[in-house]
């Protein structure tokens, strides 16, 4: 039994994969800095920021944190709770739009309106 455990823990991945991911992270970070450098605005800016962010986060989690090679049970335990965060973001977007509306409304009309 100990032999099997020993074997499992010494098996690693080739150094090339880490260097590749490392390089890709540098390139993606450089690109996301370029988004600010060239002052892209509006939808283009937001979509580029989000694309580079999710690519970087995905690469770090999949390869540096080994999730790509992990068992499905662990991967699912980690990733499904993220849907709760997505729901929370959805709720708070509605909330800030309401707050913004009521501020804009009452700062203009005044507080005495019934």
């Amino acid at each position: 039994m100990t032999d099997i455990k020993e074997k499992e823990q010494t098996s690693t991945h080739k150094i090339g994969i880490y260097l590749w991911i490392w390089g890709l992270l540098f390139v993606l970070s450089f690109f996301s800095y370029m988004v600010d450098w060239y002052q892209f605005q509006g939808f283009l800016r937001w979509s580029l920021i989000l694309i580079f962010m999710f690519l970087k986060a995905g690469l770090i989690m999949a390869f540096f944190m080994h999730l790509f090679w992990e068992r499905y049970a662990l991967v699912n335990v980690l990733l499904w709770p993220m849907t709760a965060i997505a729901c929370f973001i959805f709720l708070m977007v509605a909330e800030f739009e309401y707050t913004l509306f009521s501020r804009a409304f009452y700062f203009v009309v005044g507080g005495g309106v019934q």
Partner: protein
């Protein structure tokens, strides 16, 4: 993969494996080091903490009528007579990614029982983290000198300061704690605690290079959080 503690357990890959893992008796994640499973659970809870910070920042920034300070100018640096936007933040990002890469290699060399390489790479990671914290301290003092406070700032919406100090402060605390542990583990690797299975002082479990992977998970998570802070706080 067989678990030495549980007779007859055989790991199955894919969704079959997931079903037998989640539905198994006694323990879940059989064969996974308990420290690694617990680190993942901790990181999951930490994800929620940082998500709450970033979501409250979204709510605060989205609901103010006053213009939000332009981060590209606020965090810009004036070097050699030129204004470079976000320069310090870009360097900090590259430093943190570099240290994440050295940590990934340290985990690899640890599993290969390459004591020297593992130790040096952890030390390099620690120095990268220290550089990051140093630059963050510089950034904080610069903004404080310019009059940024949690309740006011000269650039725009007063909420900016409180979100900035809260989010980057909490992240910086994580980096600092990580640096302390990196130095401790660098010492433990060089001293050969994982080669001769010396028991740790806290949980008194036998030393094993899996601890380097657990430390690595924490360090990569710190880098991961920075990816989101960089995108939402500094670039948005």
């Amino acid at each position: 993969m067989a678990d030495p503690k549980i007779e007859g357990y055989q790991f199955k890959p894919g969704f079959k494996g997931m079903a037998s893992d989640t539905g198994s008796d006694q323990t879940m994640f059989k064969g996974v080091h308990w420290g690694k499973a617990m680190m993942w659970i901790f990181l999951l809870s930490d994800t929620f903490v940082f998500s709450c910070f970033l979501i409250s920042y979204m709510k605060g920034r989205g609901s103010t009528l006053i213009d939000w300070p332009n981060p590209s100018e606020v965090f810009g640096l004036h070097v050699f007579g030129v204004d470079v936007p976000l320069l310090l933040i870009a360097i900090m990002t590259f430093v943190l990614i570099t240290s994440s890469g050295t940590m990934a290699l340290a985990v690899k060399y640890g599993y290969e029982k390459n004591r020297k390489m593992c130790g040096w790479l952890i030390l390099a990671t620690a120095i990268g983290g220290l550089t990051f914290v140093g630059m963050q301290a510089f950034e904080w003092s610069k903004l404080i000198h310019e009059g940024v406070r949690p309740w006011e700032n000269p650039f725009g919406a007063p909420q900016f300061g409180s979100f900035f100090f809260m989010i980057t402060g909490f992240h910086g605390t994580h980096v600092s704690i990580g640096v302390i542990f990196l130095f401790i583990y660098a010492y433990k690797v060089f001293a050969g605690h994982y080669d001769n299975k010396k028991r740790g002082w806290f949980t008194s479990m036998k030393g094993d290079y899996v601890e380097i992977e657990i430390l690595g998970l924490y360090w990569h998570f710190v880098d991961l959080v920075w990816v989101f802070i960089f995108a939402f706080f500094y670039l948005w």
